[in-house]
Symmetry: C2
Subunit: 168 residues, 2 copies
Amino acid sequence: MKLKSFDHLNCSLAQTLSVIGEHWTMLIIRDAFFGFRRFDQFQKSLGIARNVLSDRLKKLVAAEVLEKSDGPGHSEYRLTEKGLALQPLMIAMTHWGDKYMPHPKGQRLKFVDRRDGKPIKTSGVYAADGRRLKPKEIKAKPGPAFTQNRPDVPVNIAIPAIIDLTQG
Amino acid sequence: MKLKSFDHLNCSLAQTLSVIGEHWTMLIIRDAFFGFRRFDQFQKSLGIARNVLSDRLKKLVAAEVLEKSDGPGHSEYRLTEKGLALQPLMIAMTHWGDKYMPHPKGQRLKFVDRRDGKPIKTSGVYAADGRRLKPKEIKAKPGPAFTQNRPDVPVNIAIPAIIDLTQG
DNA sequence: CATTTTAGTTTTATAATAGGACTATATTTA
DNA sequence: TAAATATAGTCCTATTATAAAACTAAAATG
């Protein structure tokens, strides 16, 4: 069967996954953040099969995450504004891996403020006033486009949710 | 061929992907944040094949992202502390999809501070002093465990990187 | 003009997923 | 007590996606 898409889910996270959720895709984007621009750079850096890389780059260009330009002698892929906006995601993924699956020798990479060299804040969830919020200190409210995940299949949430969808 | 693992990459993001990078996995975690706890809840909510769900739950339990408890009549899966720590990631994914792949009718879900009901800050990268940093205002410094992506295959980064790995 | 570089495409094998049918156990209902 | 239902899976098959290697074509270089 064809890999099932997430189009049946009315969910922003699922939408994001439809762009960056395939095997290798986030690593290509990571490399793009690190300045990699060319087909063979990505290929050698990741050890990805060439046909798969070709497929992923095409999809990322179609999704306007990367922009392709054909220079003299070679092509380049660079992050668009939409691609650059994936930075918080890229960093959150790195921070989580850093914390829960660390390298025995210590940190692999440290992200710092370019201005003063100080480490950036670790990824978190922040209130409007800047307080860092714990997982249970937030909740989700339905917006104008809200439906259940699958509008056709109601699912009861009987147990108190960490993020709760009840009104108010 | 077997799906290639990312173990050859010395990269925290790749480590994270090895846990949450498979098809469906982040959606299961999303559902867990929303209070879903049981096999059939996940299955109906997502429309995922039962064998695939079974596989993913096993892996998430093995990775200590979910914890399984067998109650009377049914089992439950709930997020561990390690799983709860994926919240910034989950929210960053939702924010990005919300912004770049919006529903025509408006927002699907809005995350708010449980205390005062105000929207949380959109995902971002913050300096130690709380300033929001733009993509090019940070850089990455090598830590004690740093190597190239693939220690065996050096790749030149000739072009100025948004995140730059040069010293200093 | 031959070689190398670059960016792919093509081909083949194997593994992963989707979907449906099936199973086993416990609980509820008639 | 027997039958029905609920729950949490497993098993099977068809198809797709990925990996790996070989191949292609155009441009740049020596």
